[in-house]
Amino acid sequence: MTGSAPVNSAKNDTIGAIKAGPGGFAPGLGAVRNPGDKIFRAILAAAAASIPLLAFAILAMLFVSSLPVLNQTGIYFFVRKEWDPVAQQFGALAFAYGTLMTSLIALLVAAPAGVGIALAITEFSPLKAREWAAWIVETLAAVPSVIFGLWGLFVLAPFLHQYVDPLLMRVPGKPFFAGPDTGLSLFTAGMVVAIMILPTVMAVCREVFNAVPNSLRESALALGSTRWEAVRLAVLAPSMPGIIGAVILAMGRALGETMAVTMVIGNAPQIVSNLLGPADSLASAIANQFTEATSDMHLSALTALGFLLFGITMVLNIVARLLVWAVARRMQHVAVK
């Protein structure tokens, strides 16, 4: 991709050695004095700048609107249980609990399932079937959230309420499934979200597994391992950081899931260990209460919930990126060996 032959053009623009710089153009070309270039670049840069500007604007707006409730309750707001619009006392804990528990349940189900499916596709499938198998699972990702909510409300919730919950309640010694079960619950919401984030886990894991060089797999097989052992040693082990990255990315999506959760979680801001009972989440609280917050403090409290949500997803995003980047570097080192 690098060359060093100077090229002359009929238009008197002197072009130096052509070496691919960032963006595919020779670096020296930026110095060409065509006013159109400068203007064009400025326009593009302005468009690009709109993105961080937008992010800052959203953060700023959220923060400013959250100030009233934060002034009243301080940082304590984020770990407070109270949510009483009548007495004007607000705290984010019950909703944070709902959001985290739903996401946790979703991940406990979707992570192993997603990894399993990705393995089935990359390791155990015939070559031709792979693209289409992946497409089928990714179709799940294309389904709008509100339709998942419909399905959750009319199919999954009654199904769980009738068949699954009674079985779970028989499991001895667990406070998690003590019941009573209402069909609309943390558990149901967790299951719906699990299905929704499954494609994310699967897609990223697929990329990660595909990046593992075949030499590793072949070495394992040459040493006499079974197909599963080859996968375990040669694919799963080195891909661990990438898998974790995929899971964290999926967690980000799970945390923000609004409509499907709103329709099946039961809308009761409370912190109980009973997973089969109703709860509430940050996003669904906002969705339900925003247009009817009857006081400015209530509105501010809801915006503060949004602020919390933005913060959590931002942190997760950073962590996920670092991990996926780490695995890419690892793979390069392995391949060079």
Partner: protein
């Protein structure tokens, strides 16, 4: 010489591989259940009334979601009007001039914004447009959707434009075309199908959104003719009808879901086909 595998290991192999396939089957069950549900329940009201009429009060037959269909189109149009050009321009910047720290920062924030729950964007649009205007509006809804579109389209555009080979760019410059012209006429044109796919994906993604519209475009029982007024949309209408206790409204919610699903699945299929074509062409 074939060394036989110990029976325990062979069994583990079968079990684990079986589990992976079971996971696959498990993922298919909800998908099939969902598709079956939406199709079987949605076909009931899949009629001309649905596509021609606005909602009618309970007890009066012949209502439809025509205004919601048009409303979603209008909202996506408004979003695209500013979301697409800015997104493509940003993506072009990242691809063509994207080496420095500024570009890295832009990529980081684009990823953050794509991950942020859409309801937060809704709050933002409410503060910026609905409160000052003292009105829920199609404009506010379109704005919320547009801001969601920008980072998605920017990232996809960047990926796709990067695929254009250096040789093409060099050839353009060798002919004496100024850099900016070569970006537009050569690079962008070559990447066009990929970029179009990105635009398509961005549009369908925001068309499927509900949460940000709840307090921006609100909802409307009639045809909306003004950008400054509330407007119906597929997603919000489906949600409203789904949680209602009326059989006839719930029926329409399913039909709405069916129509929305058809649009989204077709778009997803189309994008997959064009993307793989694109990849093939650039090898």
């Amino acid at each position: 010489m074939i060394i036989p595998t110990a029976p325990v290991r062979a069994r583990t192999d079968l079990i684990m591989r079986g589990l992976c396939w079971a996971a696959m089957a498990l993922a298919l069950v909800p998908l099939i259940s969902l598709l079956y549900l939406v199709v079987s329940k949605g076909l009931h009201r899949f009629d001309l009334d649905f596509f021609m009429h606005v909602p009618r009060p309970v007890g009066i037959p012949g209502g439809g979601m025509a205004n919601a269909l048009v409303g979603t189109l209008v909202l996506v149009l408004i979003a695209s009007l500013f979301g697409m050009p800015i997104g493509v321009a940003a993506g072009l910047y990242l691809a063509e001039f994207g080496g420095g720290r500024f570009a890295s920062a832009v990529r980081f924030w684009a990823d953050v914004l794509t991950g942020v729950p859409s309801i937060v964007t809704g709050i933002f649009a409410y503060d910026i447009l609905v409160k000052p205007m003292h009105s829920f509006s199609a404009l506010a809804g379109g704005f919320a959707l547009g801001t969601m579109m920008i980072p998605i389209i920017a990232r996809i555009t960047e990926e796709v434009v990067r695929l254009v080979p250096v040789s093409l760019r060099e050839a353009a410059l060798a002919l004496g075309i100024p850099k900016w012209k070569s970006i537009i006429h050569v690079v962008l044109r070559t990447a066009m199908s990929g970029v179009a796919t990105g635009l398509f994906l961005g549009a369908t993604r925001v068309a499927s959104e509900t949460a940000p519209l709840l307090f921006t475009s609100f909802n409307n029982q009639y045809w909306n003719t003004s950008l400054g007024q509330p407007t119906a949309s597929m997603t919000v209408q489906i949600f409203t009808y789904a949680i209602s206790p009326y059989e006839e409204w719930r029926d329409m919610a399913w039909t709405g879901a069916l129509v929305l699903l058809i649009i989204v699945l077709l778009a997803s299929l189309a994008s997959r086909l064009t993307l793989s074509k694109n990849r093939g062409a650039n090898l």
